[in-house]
Amino acid sequence: AQTVTQSQPEMSVQEAETVTLSCTYDTSENNYYLFWYKQPPSRQMILVIRQEAYKQQNATENRFSVNFQKAAKSFSLKISDSQLGDTAMYFCAFRTYKYIFGTGTRLKVLA
């Protein structure tokens, strides 16, 4: 069975600091896609960053970057220079034929 595990239910970080959210997954597939989504309080879920499994280079999107370790099946999200607007629930997701989501990490950025 394919699974996605986010082992940190809640995290907090001081404004301007760096935080890393962890995600591991399990699959026997070789070709797949990984995503991080952000869901701010009472707002719509939006895509943060995407990684193709066949690409060795880690994806980067402004202050957001991933550390993709295919052999370890690990896909962590690093947020640099954290801002108050980064406060949200973050979901890691994995896709082959269908999407599988983790249980989420609630991140709070402290002023």
């Binding site: 797949y32 896609y33 995503f35 939006i46 995407r50 896709r95 269908k98 999407y99 989501f101």
Partner: protein
């Protein structure tokens, strides 16, 4: 920008009622999805559709059905609502290719009394 619109933001229904949740997307996406979101459980896939009139069961289809008569519209139906179906329901759409990210609606918070 892709827009996924869910018909209601909040909905209160009674047990035994037949409940319809509607979702419309405006970007000609092939795939559409229905999830329920519960604290500590993340998003769980109820049903998805990869084409008009096509549907596939997700991980928790029991008690639900879906309809996709037009490409832009995907309806979730609770045949006989029960209290354990009280939840946040999210609709999403994506292009057919596997790398396409999902675009989500605002969600419907459904309470079954």
């Amino acid at each position: 920008d892709v827009k996924v619109t869910q018909s209601s933001r909040y909905l209160v229904k009674r047990t035994g009622e037949k409940v319809f949740l509607e979702c419309v997307q405006d970007m000609d996406h092939e795939n559409m999805f229905w999830y329920r979101q519960d604290p500590g459980l993340g998003l769980r896939l109820i049903y998805f559709s990869y084409d008009v009139k096509m549907k596939e069961k997700g991980d928790i289809p029991e008690g639900y059905s879906v309809s996709r008569e037009k490409k832009e519209r995907f309806s979730l139906i609770l045949e006989s609502a029960s209290t354990n179906q009280t939840s946040m329901y999210l609709c999403a759409s994506s292009l057919g290719a596997s790398e396409g990210p999902q675009h989500f609606g605002d969600g419907t918070r459904l309470s079954i009394l």
